[in-house]
């Protein structure tokens, strides 16, 4: 590699995937592909979610009782597993969002201060 500046990252900031998935699901229940599309779309292509990270994240969230899933028909009338956020998922999302905002604000201040 001989690029002087690294290419703009499309990977997620470590540890934020769960929060983003919860955020997307907070709008409406959605299946796996829908979640990846939505994240890409909303981030305007900045973030790309790999299925290899997404499905373990679903399993993790489900295990902690933050999301629940059931099989439904898709808009194209196919069967797909839809995930929806639970009440404790909503509480977690709120907490993590506040946390995140506090931190990013702090980081922004530090970066601006130097």
């Amino acid at each position: 590699m001989k690029a002087d500046t690294p290419p703009p990252t499309r990977a997620l900031v470590q540890g934020t995937l769960d929060m983003l998935v919860l955020r997307v699901l907070a709008l409406q229940p959605m299946h796996g592909y829908g979640v990846t599309q939505r994240i890409e779309q909303v981030s305007q292509g900045t973030f790309e979610v790999q299925p290899g990270s997404l499905f373990p994240a679903f399993r993790r969230l489900e295990r902690e009782g933050l999301v629940k899933s059931d099989w439904r028909a898709t808009e194209n009338n196919r069967r797909a597993k839809y995930y929806r956020i639970t009440d404790s998922g909503k509480r977690r999302l709120k907490a993590e969002t506040e946390d995140w905002e506090r931190q990013t604000l702090a980081i922004r201040r530090i970066l601006a201060g130097t």
Binding site: H31, G32, Y33, G34, Q37, Q50, P51, G52, F55, P56, R59, R60, E62, R63, E64, G65, T74, N76, R78, R79, A80, K81
Partner: protein, 886 residues
């Protein structure tokens, strides 16, 4: 983390675990849906169906890796992966029995040996004593400091027993026990039984209750012997009454007294002194005739150290109350387990170390085989790596396989150990084994846990290096490298290291075996100080009723000896109160005339033996100076003594001991004149036994407490056992009611005393032989493998004109060079280990160079053979066929 979250996770994991298949199907279907949606999206953007599918599949990535990542969330997935690894491993092993069977056998022997030795160690050192809360039980002893500063301990005298029973503040309860051999009459034949006189306090202190019948009542304990009741051992009950519970209340006759049986103790219980009958006893402070084994149960929360402090206070009070007490006297205490177990036991520790080394050797051997086998599996690993199995997963798969092998080996080893321990039970010191009914080194949870842990560790040790080596190779192959396992310098170095390690371990084992064998031979050929061959011993005890202590006892002994001496084939007959190989002991504190009484010497102890005139002659103990005893040396004549040469040297270092005066260190005890010096007899079995001995005439001491059991020492011209019947008849002519027992040649006693050492040496020899075999097999496998790998090279060399001899030399050199390195490391290790052990174990002797040389020679011969066979095979290769081989 809150409780609800934990519960939620647990519920989810359990669901995933028990509905595993459904979860897997769900995931498959979900991924299919994802793919379909993705394809549809690509088509919508204008791609052709083929392009769309291709793009979608690339987008999805490795499905196998993704699924593993999903499964890795929570523990249920890990358990399932482990299960899969196990099933895969089992399938693989079943397909290659040529690999699995030798590996399992090797591990079974290695783990089985460890389990067997550990179960012995467990019994002796860890297993709870079968008493309730045994750690609170202390044994109290009289002790005296000798001139060498060494403190020697004895059973307690009645006056001191009385003092501690009245004033043992730190003890909840105290029991005092005194043993005596008595003749049990009635029934078919009289027999000798060990009787224990038992003071009050048994139940609260030791808490062992009869399993049949009842314990003594407080009234009976107060009355003592006169209560006329007894508890018998389970063995005696079975032997004489067939275990019939209606025998309770029956009377047994012990010499001049009879006792009603009121209870039976649990099977195997014979504490202390291998007792068979227990009788209530009231301790009388003025009684000089016996000493007591005193046990106290500490009050809750009192440590043994605190107890000893209180005993020091008590010592001072005893000295105040009895001014004649020797200055070096003290009441000491040790825990019950310390009383029964010799923590310095070298046999047990050496064996434990050795089986450990053996197992390490076995593990390396297995690692060896695993590496060799992974060559043939290189393709499998590479394919798995290419399919996206990550390195860790592959590493774990290999490790699972060896751990699986080790667990199977461990299960087989457990069976082996169960069988081995029945042979090895002799290695348990008899005091703990026989008296508390712990002779069987049974399997308990601790042994099982040990075996499982050792098996898993063995599997990891055997598998970790090969697993690293082959996953590295497979990964590098995937990355475009060309090396594979078993080929290339890294794995050659690995196999070389195996050879070195195996030889080194084998040397340590061989040297250890040599040391044990040497120790055994030293004991076998030690200077006993007497000649045990053609010497018969017969035991009898004059019943107190017919032969009260005093002249009548001496007369009986004289008549018995005269009667036996008249028999043909017998050259001389002696009598002593202690059989030097019989395990019994009797010692006495002595005082030397002329030494100031304040000197600590006045409480020095020596072995105390009452003997007949011809004893030294019949046992062939050399008379160094002075005269023997005669029957004239009786109670009417001035007291005389013969001392051993060790004793003479210690007490009169630069003087003539003859004519010197000496006596038992007790007020008013009469002075004795030394009339002779005899050779030393080696009869010290315990490190604490005094090395010095004095002999006093039985006839002169016939009123003393020691003048009880008599061991006749009968010197025969030929086979002494052939005379046994004549001897019994001769004794019967003097008194038909006299019970004799323990008829046995002294050399039988001698070999019995070495039973434990002999078995230890044999076990060690077996370990070393097995270790040697493993090392030879390991070297052979590596060298044969190397020859196989180099077939083409060897063919080429031969085609270019190399002679067969050169080829043989080339192969041999490699093996022998590595063997020699291992030999040097092993020898250095053995010397170092020996140095360390000599430092803290009295029984271990320093290594002699001869042992190392012999071990090295044996090992080198084995390595040579292990290399020579593949070397010759290499030399016999047909060059053309070898060149073509792939």
């Amino acid at each position: 983390m809150s409780v609800t979250t934990v519960l939620q996770k647990l519920r989810s994991d359990l669901g995933a675990f028990f509905r595993w298949q459904r979860h897997e199907n769900d995931l498959d279907e979900e991924l299919r849906a994802y793919l379909e949606s993705s394809i549809a999206a690509h088509v919508k953007r204008g791609a052709s169906p083929d392009e769309a599918e291709r793009a979608a599949r690339i987008g999805l990535g490795s499905v196998a890796a993704l699924k593993e990542d999903v499964r890795a969330v929570g523990w249920s997935g890990h358990v399932h992966m482990l299960w899969q690894d196990l099933r895969f491993g089992l399938r693989l092993l079943r397909r290659s029995p040529g690999f699995a069977v030798p590996v399992i056998l090797t591990l079974a022997l290695g783990i089985g040996g460890n389990t067997a030795i550990f179960s012995l160690v467990n019994t002796v050192f860890f297993r709870p004593l079968p008493l309730s809360d045994p750690d609170r039980v202390l044994r109290l002893l009289d002790s005296a400091r000798g001139p060498d500063g060494h403190r020697r301990t004895f059973g307690m005298h009645s006056q001191n027993v009385d003092a501690v029973q009245r004033d043992g503040r730190v003890f909840e309860s105290i029991v005092s026990l005194s043993g005596q051999n008595l003749t049990l009459t009635g029934g078919d034949a009289p027999e000798r039984v060990q009787v224990v006189y038992r003071s009050a306090g048994w139940l609260p202190t030791l808490a062992v209750r009869p399993v049949v019948g009842r314990d003594f009542s407080p009234d009976e304990e107060r009355e003592g012997i006169d209560s006329g009741v007894a508890i018998v051992s389970y063995a005696l009950w079975q032997r004489r009454y067939g275990g019939d519970s209606s025998s309770l209340g029956t009377t047994i006759q012990l010499e001049d007294r009879s006792f009603a049986i009121v209870g039976v103790f649990p099977p195997g219980f014979s504490f202390p002194y291998e007792a068979e009958v227990w009788i209530p006893f009231a301790v009388d402070a003025s009684d000089r005739a016996r000493d007591f084994a005193v046990f106290g149960r500490l009050r809750k929360g009192v440590t043994p150290q605190q107890a000893q402090q209180d005993l020091d206070r008590l010592t001072a009070e005893i000295k105040e109350q009895y001014p004649e007490t020797a200055p070096g006297y003290a009441v000491t205490s040790i825990t019950l387990r310390d009383n029964l177990v010799d923590h310095q036991d070298a046999t047990m520790l050496t064996l434990l170390c050795s089986v450990g080394f053996l197992l390490l050797l076995a593990s390396i051997n297995v690692a060896n085989l695993v590496v060799a086998r992974s060559v043939s599996r290189a393709r499998e690993f590479t394919i798995r790596a290419a399919l996206g199995a990550n390195r860790w997963r592959q590493f774990r798969q290999m490790l699972t396989e060896t751990v699986l092998l080790a667990l199977i080996g461990g299960a087989a080893g457990l069976l082996l150990a169960e069988w081995l321990t029945t042979f090895l039970a002799t290695l348990i010191p008899s005091s703990i084994g026989e008296q508390l009914g712990m002779a069987n080194a049974g399997m308990d949870r601790r042994v099982l846990a040990f075996t499982v842990v050792v098996s898993v560790l063995t599997g990891i040790v055997a598998g970790i290096v090969p697993a690293f080596a082959s996953t590295n190779a497979a990964q590098s192959l995937k990355d475009g490298g060309r090396s594979s396992v078993g080929d290339g310098p890294a794995s050659h170095r690995l196999l070389n290291a195996f050879i070195v390690a195996q030889t080194a371990l084998a040397v340590v084992l061989l040297v250890g075996a040599g040391l044990m064998l040497q120790n055994f031979q030293r004991l076998q050929h030690r200077a006993l100080g007497f000649d045990p061959r053609a010497l018969l011993t017969v035991e009898f005890t004059p019943a107190a009723a017919n032969y009260p202590p005093g002249t009548r006892r001496a007369q009986l002994l004289h008549r018995v000896i005269d009667e036996i001496e008249r028999l043909p084939g017998i050259s001389s007959v002696g009598a002593t109160t202690v059989n030097p190989l019989g395990g019994g002991d009797w010692s006495a504190p002595v005082e030397i005339d002329g030494h100031p009484p304040a000197s600590a010497t006045d409480a020095y102890t020596v072995n105390h033996r009452l003997v007949s005139p011809a004893l030294l002659q019949s046992m062939r103990i050399p008379m160094i100076r002075g005269r023997q005893f005669t029957w004239e040396d009786d109670e009417r004549r001035p007291g005389v003594a013969i001392v051993s040469s060790d004793m003479a040297r210690r007490y009169w270092p630069d003087q003539d001991p003859l004519g010197k005066r000496i006596r038992i260190a007790r007020p008013n005890s009469p002075w004795l004149t030394v009339v002779g010096v005899a050779g030393n007899v080696s009869d010290a079995r315990d490190p604490g036994d005094p090395p010095e001995t004095w002999y006093l005439p039985y006839a002169q001491q016939a009123s003393a407490a020691a003048a009880q059991t008599v061991h006749l020492m009968i010197r025969a011209d030929a086979d002494p056992l052939a005379l046994a019947a004549d001897i019994k008849r001769a004794i019967g002519r003097i008194d038909p009611a006299l019970a004799i027992y323990g008829v046995s040649p002294m050399d039988t006693f001698f070999s019995l005393t070495l039973k434990r050492e002999r078995l230890g040496a044999a076990a060690m020899g077996a370990f070393a032989a097995f270790g040697l075999l493993l090392a030879a097999m390991g070297v052979y496998a590596v060298i044969a493998f190397a020859v196989l790998q180099r077939t083409q090279e060897i063919g080429l060399r031969m085609a270019l004109g190399a002679e067969r001899r050169t080829i043989v030399g080339m192969v041999l050199t490699r093996g022998l060079r590595l063997g020699l390195i291992g030999l040097a490391i092993g020898a250095a290790g053995a010397v170092g280990l020996n140095r360390v052990l000599v430092g803290f174990l009295a029984e271990i002797t320093p290594l002699e160079p001869a042992i190392i040389l012999v071990a090295a020679a044996v090992l080198l011969a084995c390595i040579f053979m292990a290399c020579y066979v593949p070397a010759r095979r290499a030399a016999r290769l047909d060059p053309l066929a070898a060149l073509r081989s792939e």
